[in-house]
Structure formats: structure tokens, C-alpha cells
Symmetry: C2
């Protein structure tokens, strides 16, 4: 972790890893984690029963498929809150970089689990 009150540059942190679907924590505040994720292709459908999840697109285009057979398409500068309990599947046709903002300890695969569940890793 950085010295308290040291700036974190998101582009520099994104340059430290290549793996997709492998979130890296870049900051912590009030028990929340700020994570960067590289996204390509589709993730597993999952639900976070107890937490709202915030997606913030930094570069590229992110599609978030939602229950009710609808999907939203997010461009850089777009933010989306997926409310707790709403099943969703992130997808990107081309590599996309996003920030995820959520309480610490939330698994990326929610209640689906499985091999794509990532450990907490700091960038």
C-alpha cells in the first residue's frame, strides 16, 4: 500500500498487469476497495446478494448484461450501479479497462463462485 494521502495514478497502475478478469486493488477508504480490472470477453453471470456494485469505465466499451433480458453499454466516463441482488454479466468485445468500487471482501464472482473467483491483490 502507498503512503497515506499519496496520489494513485490509474494509468500507471493499469500498466502493471496484463491479465483480464483479475482485479487489482489500488486504494482503500472506509472499508471500501477501489479496484482496476481489465475485461475481455464475457464473465460468469453472478449476483451479489448484499452489496451494490459500482462500475466506472476508464477506456473501451463495457456491456453489462442484466436480468430482465436487458443490457447497458458503458463508455469511458460512464458509471453504473448494479443494485444488490440483480444478476449481471460483464462483457467486452474488445479489451476494456474499468474501475470497480465496492466494499472490501466482495468476491468478483458473487454467489456463483467457481474457478474465476479472484483473490484480493493490490496493484
Amino acid at each position: 500500500m502507498a503512503h497515506p494521502a499519496s496520489p494513485v495514478n490509474l494509468a500507471e497502475k493499469l500498466a502493471t498487469f496484463d491479465e483480464c478478469w483479475s482485479p487489482r486493488i489500488v486504494a482503500e477508504a472506509n472499508g471500501w476497495h477501489f479496484k482496476l480490472v481489465k475485461v475481455l470477453g464475457e464473465f460468469v453471470w453472478h449476483t451479489h446478494p448484499d452489496v451494490d456494485e459500482v462500475f466506472w469505465v476508464i477506456s473501451g466499451v463495457l456491456e453489462v448484461r442484466l436480468e430482465e433480458r436487458r443490457a447497458v453499454r458503458l463508455s469511458p466516463g460512464d458509471l453504473l450501479v448494479v443494485p444488490r441482488g440483480m444478476s449481471h454479466q460483464p462483457y467486452a468485445h474488445e479489451e476494456c479497462h474499468i474501475a470497480l468500487l465496492e466494499p472490501a471482501g466482495v468476491p468478483n464472482t458473487g454467489d456463483t463462485g467457481g474457478p474465476r473467483t479472484a483473490a484480493d491483490v493490490w496493484a
Copy 2:
């Protein structure tokens, strides 16, 4: 408030107001508020005794003066966590647009209060 799981475009929200030092809430998740703020000149020195505050620069340059006679300079794509209890004073030489991420209900002037304290307003 928008329909649940509707995208929020930050540039569009920023275009809805001109006032500086007048935060607008654009999203809520898990009891946190995501606010946009236009910044010009200097704000009051203040401290949030119980919450960490997250600054995320969208455009322009933000200086955050901190106790210990130091300051950090943030450019677009930089994020800064000011830990609870650390006195700070945001400043911008030219207009700067930032996102503030913090638990709902945190006053912008912290424990300093006074006439620059802003009400909760949604964009």
C-alpha cells in the same frame, strides 16, 4: 434518481451545473454517495474526523494541501484518499472537475462548518 442500473454519464452530469464548491450527487451505492464537484480557488481547511475521503480528478489539476505542510498535485486519472482526521484544503488555480466518493451525509466542510457547507443535492 435514475432508474436502478441505468448508466450515469459524468460529462452530461457536469454540464447540468456551473457553481463551484457545490457538490452534486450522481449515484448511491451501499450508503455511499458519488458526487461531482467543480473547483476553483481555495476551499476552507477542514477535517473529517470519522471518514476517509476519496478525490478523483476528471479534468484539470487539483492541489490538496495537507497537514504537515505538504501538498499533493492531482491530474486527470489521479485518485487520492485523505485519511480520516487529516486536515486538508482543496485548491485549484484553474477550474477543475472532480469526483468525491464518500459515505452519504459527510459535510463538505467537515468539522469546520460555516457558510460554505453545502446541502445534499442530486444532479
